[in-house]
Amino acid sequence: MPTTNNKPVITASHLHKEVTGPGGILTILRDVNLQVNAGSSTAILGASGSGKTTLLGLLAGLDTPTTGKIQLFDSDLSTLDEDGRAALRAGRVGFVFQSFQLLPGLTALENVMLGVELGGDITTSRVRALETLQQVGLGERIDHYPDQLSGGEQQRVAIARAFATHPEILFADEPTGNLDQDTGRQIIDLMFSLQEAHNTALVLVTHDVELAEHCGDRMLLDQGILEYHDA
């Protein structure tokens, strides 16, 4: 188990998110409050369209709330512009997406190096990327391009890219959504073992209750309202 302490990595208070659609204003999140501490793991459960991906985007600073406040690390995201939020993420925030989101023009090694380099570590990026790829079991496939890898392998590269920077927090959006059951299970084991090893906080967004059970905390997002979920 990772060591959790009470130092919050993310604190979200009174988040509201509204979007304007063809039918008028649509409220996606209502008064969401959340705290994620260092080394902890939090699952956000919800049905399709419940707003869980929107919440993940807000917490990671990829989007801005209509009202409310998000504190990521020690910074108030509302005081930062797009570039400021990007700089805050660099090297400290990792992502694992359902659709892998690897750059098709880069090899597995280069994709992993990209995260390290954007984190500011140019000199040892190659060594760190190689190490992490070996940890995820892809030491032999470092020169392969994404389209030469299977779905499971691509997600391993994405996990390597996320952990190579030793991030303080990892956001995972339906990481097994595009994988078969067996591969999904392997990917989850890999992700949690690395999360434990690196003592990284994890925010996992999923509709899969079984997957959510791997996390220390589970929350349910229903019609824009977030509440603790007890299995």
């Binding site: 985007g57 992502f95 659709s99 880069l106 380099e117």
Partner: protein, 833 residues
């Protein structure tokens, strides 16, 4: 930060190339640069070749003329610069044969004459003409045909020139620099310069014109010319290639405009292909940009990465394009070499610089705007694929590309008017094509209702595809260029050639006395040749404008100095010549004023700074006469009709001693007519300008051919626009075909749908392109080249059918992979959330 941007910019470039995203941009750019450099190299060479042919009319690259012996200092300067030299001395003199005398124009030429062009002679009167590689041997002369007829002489007989008796060795058929002074009334006698002193005709006070002909490298000639400008003494004159006959100048200017036009259409098409490809590239790269933003990349890093990638790619494509451009023009030049009398000179390296610069400007203007927007890609796009990259608004793109295009056109043609005209024509075309694209979509929607599945699939592709209108515009633009280059170009060239149609006058009769006018008309009629119009002519020197006395020193401009230093041929007429056009004021026929007036040719007025209302004073046969300028007019010098710089209203010149002048066409086998005419009217001077006209015609033919070859590259660039447009929809098509196939559609059904889509697109684009090309052609022909232009229905027929066929063939070729691609692979490539 820069080093990170640099590294990232290089990292995936090879992979992106393989996946085809950058390939279209690179190939389009390479082709654009190939076209520009090939055109650049080619026009450079053709331009040099044409300049050299123009040099024929001077018999050298530069001529120094002086009434006094050419100063040793000038000859020394030419020697120091290693310029080839030759001398000529010309003067009027009477030759004797028995009891007969005749005033002739004697020309003594030194070894090496002519430095440019060739002398042509015949062994008998109106006999077969051959090229001479030498000058007359000492003791012999070559004479013009009319000297033989007027003195009833034969080849081999003797004539007396000063103190020496010369044997007539050849009939002089063509003398390159004779054209630079067409109105020489006396026939030519050419002798070897070594014999000149012995004749005793040239003494210190003699009225002679001495020419020093010079030839050499362009740069050296320029250096000499600069030196000469600073060291010219009164009486000395320098004649360069720009000082040839106005006919020649018109032909050369027209050729340059045609070639310039070809170059800028290639640039425009290259830009269109790049714009289409880059828009597509930017959309596809937005996913990568979003992932990088997510991982912490700043917007400036993205900007650097994508811009640098564009620069590497552009630089490489430009370099390759230049090399290909060089090779392409080498092949074309070797193909064309046989058409030039002279060896085509090698090109300068300047077109490489121009080509690469043009390529980079095209890239910056057409590709950079969408690339710049990549830095604004929202990181949220990693979670929401439906988020679109905000691309520059169509209007800002239109504004930017228009400005870039206009700038390039101006730079390439050096003619703001031409650039503006072609530019506004293009904008109009794009606007029409754009509107038509919307029209097409509406029509297709209407057709869609109640039609079968295949129709629905084909037409739905048109109506629902986001890029349909862009594609139609691009294809229409490409087709417009193709049509402009093929059918419309031929029409324009034909109209151009028609300005020198068969039957263009090739003989001038001058020195016709007033009492000979009627008998001459009768003589023509008796020989079954329609009598040509005869124009009165009075020679006068311009001595004043308004209250001011003028002379050559009054003007800075060389041409003005030369015009004022010689006598003007003045005429009078009640009616204006048919091919003249009034540009200011009124012809006296159109005005009630009875005041005496002059109508002045526009170019002359510009050169001499004359304006409407100025009074011109001429000295004619010792009397001064004056009149106000009441109109300015343009003259078609290349029509070979008798034309005058200055025409007086009736009543101004009639009392002065006049002769008459006319021009007419004589067929190749009507040489006898000339002999009979000369015998019947011995004092009338016949100027056979066929050789000179052939020279002008050859230049025009070569220019046409050059334009045709140059347009070949533009044609390729047009096809590239098509390719780029089709390629930009490939992903969409792969997915559509995969969905249809997974639902059970046969390959044949999909193929039919695709065929229908492209055929409709092609036909519509073809119709619009034909209309636009015809309008643009009409505009170019009538406004720019001042040619008459008739609309050709074949442009539409060929336009619609060929466009439908080409677009369908290219479309099916472009999307053929979608037919054979396993649906599962395609569908797997496009994960949905």
């Amino acid at each position: 930060m820069l080093s990170t941007g640099l590294r990232f910019s290089l990292r995936s470039i090879s992979r992106d190339w393989k996946s085809g995203e950058l390939r279209v941009i690179a190939i389009s750019l390479m082709l654009a640069v190939t076209a520009v450099t090939a055109v650049g190299f080619f026009t450079d060479r053709v331009g040099r070749a044409m300049t050299r042919q123009a040099a024929e009319l001077l018999a050298g690259d530069l001529v120094i003329s002086s009434p006094d012996p050419i100063r040793a200092e000038i000859r020394q300067q030419a020697s120091d610069l290693n310029l080839t030299q030759a001398h000529t001395t010309s003067f009027p003199s009477v030759v004797l044969h028995g009891d007969n005398t005749l005033l002739t124009e004697v020309k003594a030429v030194s070894q090496g004459y002519p430095l440019r062009g060739q002398l042509k002679t015949a062994r008998k009167l109106y006999g077969e003409v051959t090229v001479e590689s030498n000058i007359p041997e000492t003791g012999t002369v070559w004479v013009e045909p009319r000297l033989l007829t007027q003195l009833s002489l034969q080849i081999g007989e003797k004539l007396q020139l000063g103190r020496v008796s010369f044997e007539i060795a050849r009939v002089l058929a063509y003398e390159p620099d004779r054209g630079s002074n067409l109105f020489q009334f006396a026939p030519r006698v050419m002798l070897n310069h070594a014999d000149l002193d012995a004749t005793g005709l040239v003494v210190p006070a003699s009225r002679v014109t001495r020419h020093l002909l010079l030839a050499g490298q362009e740069a050296t000639i320029k250096r000499f010319s600069t030196w000469m400008q600073q060291n010219t003494l009164p009486g000395e004159r320098m004649l360069g290639l720009q000082d040839g006959r106005p006919e020649m100048r018109t032909a050369l200017e027209r050729a340059e405009q045609f070639l310039g036009l070809a170059a800028l259409v290639s640039v425009l098409l290259g830009g269109a292909a790049i714009a289409v490809a880059t828009r597509h590239y930017a959309q596809r790269q937005s996913d990568n940009g979003a992932v990088m933003r997510c991982l912490g990349a700043s917007s400036s890093l993205l900007l650097q990465m994508f811009t640098l990638r564009l620069i590497w790619l552009g630089g490489l494509a430009c370099l390759l394009g230049s090399v290909l451009g060089y090779l392409a023009q080498e092949i074309l030049s070797s193909m064309l070499a046989q058409w030039f009398v002279l060896k085509i000179p090698p090109p300068s390296l300047w077109p490489i610089v121009t080509g690469i610069l043009t390529g980079m400007v095209v890239l910056a203007g057409f590709a950079l705007p969408p690339i710049l927007h990549l830095r604004q890609v929202p990181p949220l796009k990693v979670l929401r694929r439906d988020l679109k990259l905000t691309t520059p608004s169509i209007w800002s793109l239109v504004l930017i590309t228009t400005l870039v295009m206009l700038g390039l056109m101006w730079w390439h043609t050096g003619d703001l008017r031409l650039a503006t005209m072609v530019g506004s024509g293009s904008i109009l075309t794009i606007a029409i094509l754009w509107l038509a694209a919307s029209g097409l979509i509406k029509t297709a929607r209407w057709l869609d209702q109640g039609s079968g599945m295949i129709w629905r699939f084909g037409l739905a592709s048109l109506t629902r595809r986001s890029g349909s209108s862009i594609q139609t515009v691009a294809i229409g633009l490409g087709m417009m260029a193709l049509l402009l280059l093929t059918l419309v170009r031929v029409d324009i060239l034909e109209a151009w050639n028609r300005t020198l149609p068969p039957g263009t006058p090739n003989q001038f009769l001058v020195n016709i006395q007033p009492h000979e006018v009627k008998p001459l008309r009768n003589f023509f009629q008796s020989k079954g040749i329609p009598a040509p119009e005869l124009y009165p002519m009075v020679r006068g020197r311009l001595v004043g404008v308004n209250q001011e006395q003028v002379g050559p020193d009054h003007y800075q401009n060389d041409r003005a100095q030369r015009l004022v230093s010689r006598e003007f041929n003045l005429s009078w007429a009640l009616q204006m010549q048919e091919d003249n056009r009034i540009t200011a004021g009124k012809w006296w026929h159109d005005t009630s004023a009875t005041e005496a007036g002059f109508s002045v040719e526009q170019g002359l007025a510009n050169t001499l700074g004359l304006k409407l209302g100025d009074t011109m004073r001429f000295l004619v046969a010792g009397q001064e006469m004056a009149a106000r300028i009441t109109s300015l007019r343009t003259v078609k010098w290349d029509s070979f009709n008798v034309n005058f710089f200055v025409i007086a209203s009736p009543g101004v010149l009639e009392h002065l001693p006049a002769t008459y002048v006319t021009s007419f066409y004589l067929g190749d086998n009507q040489g006898e007519f000339l002999v009979e005419l000369v015998q019947a009217f011995p004092s009338v001077t016949v100027l056979d300008v066929r050789s000179f006209m052939n020279q002008v015609r050859t230049v025009i033919d070569h220019a046409s051919l050059a334009v045709e070859y140059v347009f070949l590259f533009t044609l390729l660039a047009g096809l590239m626009v098509l390719y780029a447009a089709i390629h930009s929809t490939l992903d969409e098509r792969l997915q559509e075909a995969a969905i249809l196939r997974s639902m059970g559609a046969s390959k044949r059904q999909i193929l039919k749908g695709i065929t229908l889509e492209f055929m409709s697109l092609g036909a519509m684009a073809g119709f619009l392109a034909a209309t636009a090309a015809s309008l643009l052609g009409y505009f170019l022909a009538t406004r720019m080249f001042e040619l008459s232009y008739g609309f050709n229905p074949w442009v539409w027929i060929v336009g619609i059918f060929s466009s439908a066929a080409i677009v369908t063939a290219a479309g099916i070729f472009g999307v053929r992979s979608t037919l054979n691609y396993p649906p599962i692979r395609v569908l797997g490539r496009f994960p949905t959330k």
